[in-house]
Assembly symmetry: C2
Homo-oligomer: 295 residues x 2
């Protein structure tokens, strides 16, 4: 991994954190961003060894010398970027990404790329409630999941490279799954969770609430501090799955409501008991691989 | 406060943590619990100076010597306790509680008590996902809210005492509000939040999920590790408010769903933007009083 030359396209929170982790691992890392200040910040803080703003005459050369190109772009920017920049990639280059949705993007990107370039899709499940390279911090990868979503077009070597990349970045768990499995899972554990936090925050506008809230409300709404441009793209790109999850969740809310209005204490307790049991099981499974890794 | 003699009735997580904080503040604290082991644990760990199991012949004396009795009981146990033990209280004694619902309990308790005893209702908004005196730890009060919900029957002195109690226990913020305001607020920030966590945990039973989840899902479902007996009581005791909050929240989920299925990007972004803005405002207001206290 340390021998590889990387170019990060999109020096945002994630792209910047990739650059930080890879530079620390001894890789040569360059960067490109639409904001000249992002490139300057990354250079001045040692995240990249060289870089240029999008549109700069040096962009083709920076891309051409990279063995691995990391697209730290919004989902909707992926296909346009490949259309305009795919020709600058070196023969044999690997391309990877950080996109939070896969079906809407991966096969279109793979179909557009030249046959001598391979796109191995990844989703680093990490983030913050802030954006921009100025908040880059590879510590956010430490407890997090790194998902690799290859298609039938990917080689075993590219998948092995992505696993090695996830380890170098410092992720706790690395999982390989299909684009379809990925989008189904993410629709539930991430997108539905964000929709709920937003709805909860918007459901009541009593200005006295902040003085009297408890930890539970704070925890549930932390992710309501959402980047509306990115998440709107992510939601629409996975709309069918997300709407299905919303419906399943609302049906469950309806069952709880019915137990309450019907005075069905036994049914209510059973739902509470099952949720508590499943959440504890969740903790148990989730901790196990981490402990293994720590041995 | 240090001069007062307290008796804690119900040495659970909260009652035990009250005992710990009051003993550290130099108060004389005794305790009563249905579990003899809870009393033994509290004695052995210095949480109480004296104690007895419920039904023990010493209970009337322990109650009779207390100037302040703290009822660390489930909501449904409050009225029966006052009916059977109210006669043992000393003339002039203050009674307080830790109950998470108020309208269903407070006026009934006040009506049952002798006129020479005053019940000043309180709700310490703190907890853990575990129960029992063995987990008592008054550190849980440090960032939390202490709510006092007096009625027209309460004296200014009793309210002032409750404020002093909240400070002695170490709470960050102390708020006085009516029982009705309390139950409306708690229906939203606490009970609805718990219903959502339970529904989210029960909405999908894919066993592969724990390996691939992110922080957001963990945060949203932490409180699904719920005590079904306590929370079933709390929900039913505040049912009308809670059902109203469920309906308001589900309507908000419906608006998000409609923006998605209708492809209305502008409406979706506006909902996300508003939620993020309100959550940031929330952080700002919430932090302010804490900072004041730290000066």
């Amino acid at each position: 991994m340390e021998q590889r030359k990387f170019c990060i396209v999109g020096l945002g929170l994630l792209g910047g954190s990739y650059a930080m982790a890879l530079a620390r691992a001894g890789c040569r890392v360059t960067g490109i961003d639409v904001r000249a200040e992002a490139v300057r910040y990354a250079l001045e803080n040692g995240l990249i060894a060289d870089g240029a703003a999008a549109g700069d005459a040096r962009v083709p050369a920076l891309l051409g010398e990279a063995e691995v190109v990391v697209l730290g772009l919004y989902p909707g920017a992926m296909v346009p970027w490949v259309e305009t920049h795919g020709g600058f990639l070196a023969p044999g280059a690997l391309v990877t990404d950080v996109c939070g949705v896969k079906c809407a993007v991966v096969r279109r990107v793979q179909a557009l790329l030249r046959p001598d370039v391979e796109f191995i899709p990844c989703h680093p499940m990490a983030g913050r409630e802030v954006s921009g390279v100025e908040h880059a911090d590879c510590a956010m990868f430490r407890q997090a999941n790194f998902l690799i979503t290859p298609t039938e077009k990917n080689t075993a070597q590219a998948i092995a490279f992505a696993e090695e990349l996830g380890r170098t970045l410092g992720f706790a768990r690395i999982t390989v799954l299909s684009c379809e499995e990925h989008d189904r899972m993410i629709g539930y554990v991430s997108q539905l969770a964000h929709v709920i936090a937003v709805a909860l925050m918007n459901a009541n506008d009593d200005p006295a609430l902040p003085r009297t809230t408890g930890d539970s409300f704070r925890d549930l709404t932390r992710i309501a501090k959402i980047n509306e441009h990115l998440w709107s793209e992510l939601f629409f790109a996975n709309r069918d799955v997300l709407v299905g999850e919303i419906d399943q969740f609302c049906a469950e809310m309806g069952r709880l409501r019915a137990a309450l209005t019907g005075g069905d204490e036994a049914a209510l307790k059973e739902m509470l008991r099952r949720a508590a049991e499943r959440r504890r099981e969740f903790d148990r499974i989730e901790r196990a691989p981490l402990e293994e890794k720590r041995l």
